[in-house]
């Protein structure tokens, strides 16, 4: 016997934060309209009136795909979310679908962190797990890793996530080149000093792993 669970119930734990609106997550501003709907837009666009309006949560896929210059965004938490749009959604379920598409995997990470169950994985462990063409990344030196993370993950121009992982099992910092605020979930990585729901990084991403490969390959030549 399996009991059937209504779709709505999966919201209860995750979306209590949507009760206190407006709220900000990454570069997105979420507010309630006079009609009781939800409105999402770029945080830079809060006072703009000339926004293109979308009403389907799945529109987030297309909005998040390219930056203002039309360049593909391989990293959805990079600080280059497109401007000029507004997404009007009827209910919390739709908001959740949209945010999962704008910032894939970030809400589950946030929920786990709030519950105190977010498991983080050190950079060294991620690199040592690799196979195939990425196995070589395990050879990156601490100095190289320090430099790579310091430039690739930085909030101004790199990635807006708050890093929660360490460099290794001994707890070395990911990079001494990053400010302390890069590791602080209370800090607004967009630099506006506003209260935000943080985009947490619980494990080095595959883009960083691919960069590590370039570093190791480059130094071998």
């Amino acid at each position: 016997m399996t009991e059937s669970v209504p779709q709505q119930s999966r919201q209860s734990a995750a979306d209590e934060w949507l009760r206190t609106l407006p709220c900000r997550i990454g570069q997105i501003f979420v507010d309630r309209t006079a009609e009781g709907a939800f409105a999402l837009r770029h945080r830079d666009d809060v006072n703009r009136e000339d926004l293109a309006v979308y009403r389907d949560a799945e529109a987030a896929v297309a909005i998040a795909q390219y930056d203002d210059a039309g360049v593909y965004r391989p990293l959805k938490t990079a600080p280059n979310l497109r401007h000029g749009w507004s997404l009007m959604l009827a209910d919390v379920t739709a908001v959740r679908v949209a945010l999962d598409l704008f910032y894939p995997g970030r809400i589950p990470a946030y929920v786990a962190w709030r519950r105190g169950t977010l498991k983080t994985t050190p950079l060294r462990e991620t690199l040592e797990r690799q196979t195939g063409m990425y196995r070589v990344t395990a050879k990156i030196t601490d100095e190289q890793a320090n430099e790579l993370v310091g430039s690739f993950c930085r909030s101004d121009g790199g990635c807006l996530r708050t890093i929660r992982w360490d460099r290794d099992i001994q707890g070395a910092p990911p990079s001494t080149l990053l400010p302390e605020t890069k590791f602080d979930p209370a800090h607004d990585q967009m630099g506006k000093g506003e209260p935000v729901i943080p985009l947490l990084c619980q494990e080095p991403c595959n883009l960083l792993v691919a960069e590590a490969r370039k570093v190791v390959k480059g130094s071998a030549e």
Binding site: V5, A13, P74
Partner: protein
């Protein structure tokens, strides 16, 4: 459908790309379609090269009382990804993995293994060349080469063999982009007035928008001016192409077919069915 998946999650695993959005597009649209049907308690995607990653997926399905998660690889065949990368990243220890919290993750077969692939390829051919008599048509299935660390070439051969057995087409052939029989030799490989080309790929992308059209001779080397998307629309809209005195019909990648959503659901159902029959047999064994 015998099973109730209301307390089950569905996780579609795709390859994804750091260069363009086309690789993940079919997985996302199949997920949206399945979500609309309301079969599962939760439907999510994850990717090797895109977000959310497989590691991110480990944090999903924590809400709403999800007891079981079905993992369906949106891949053409078993291979490096289904056998090494996915189990490693998702921490799967076999067909069934129980997490510390008791949640069970079921590892289903890749979509390309599904028996309906043959029918979908035939459908694609019919749609791209409507009304063309099959007896005057050669069907070319384009696959990745055998040099890749996977079995996609074997899967493509299996499909070609199955279609050939039907005896409906004048000819059915396997072709590849970089090894013989080369897709660029299509005119030499075939003798019929009509030739239909279907890529046996999970997603469109540079291969289907650019490389294969160039190899077929229906497009000059890319100028770089038009966006990929525009080129894609063009390349699939101009069927048939008249070349070498033949009519050439070129289809988009098989994995973009909306019916792949059904295939994904069926991979889950067939896993659940197998599991039940195993436990039924076990129960019968006990009684006997």
């Amino acid at each position: 459908m015998a099973s109730d998946f209301g307390s089950s999650g569905l996780l579609i695993v795709g390859h994804g790309s750091t260069v363009n959005p086309d690789s993940s597009a079919p997985s996302l649209s199949h997920a949206a379609e399945i979500r609309r049907r309301g079969i599962f308690g939760d439907v999510q995607c994850c990717f090797w090269k895109e977000e959310p990653s497989m590691r991110d997926a480990l944090l999903m399905f924590q809400e709403g009382g999800i007891k079981e998660v079905y993992v369906v690889p949106n891949f053409i065949s078993e291979g490096y990804f289904t056998q090494t990368v996915i189990p490693r990243e998702l921490e799967l220890s076999g067909r069934t993995t129980e997490r510390i919290d008791g949640q069970v993750w079921n590892f289903c077969e890749p979509v390309g293994n599904h028996r309906s692939m043959t029918e979908l390829l035939l459908e694609r051919a019919r749609e791209v060349a409507p009304g063309v008599p099959e007896s005057e048509m050669s069907l070319l299935i384009v696959g990745h080469g055998t040099n890749l660390n996977d079995n996609s070439a074997i899967a493509a051969k299996r499909e070609v063999e199955a279609i050939r057995q039907l005896g409906r087409y004048a000819a059915v052939l396997n072709t590849y982009m970089e090894e013989a029989p080369l897709i660029s030799d299509w005119a030499k490989l075939t003798t019929t007035p009509h030739v239909v080309v279907v890529p046996f790929f999970i997603a469109d992308g540079l291969h289907s928008y650019e490389d294969i059209p160039v190899l077929l001779g229906i497009e000059a080397a890319p100028s770089g001016s038009a966006s990929e998307r525009q080129r894609a629309g063009e390349v699939f809209r101009h069927n048939p192409h008249h070349l070498h005195g033949r009519s050439l019909y070129y289809a988009s990648a098989i994995g973009t077919d909306a019916r792949f959503a059904d295939v994904i659901v069926e991979q889950v159902e067939s896993f659940a069915r197998d599991q039940h029959s195993i436990s039924d047999n076990f129960a019968r064994g006990l009684v006997a």
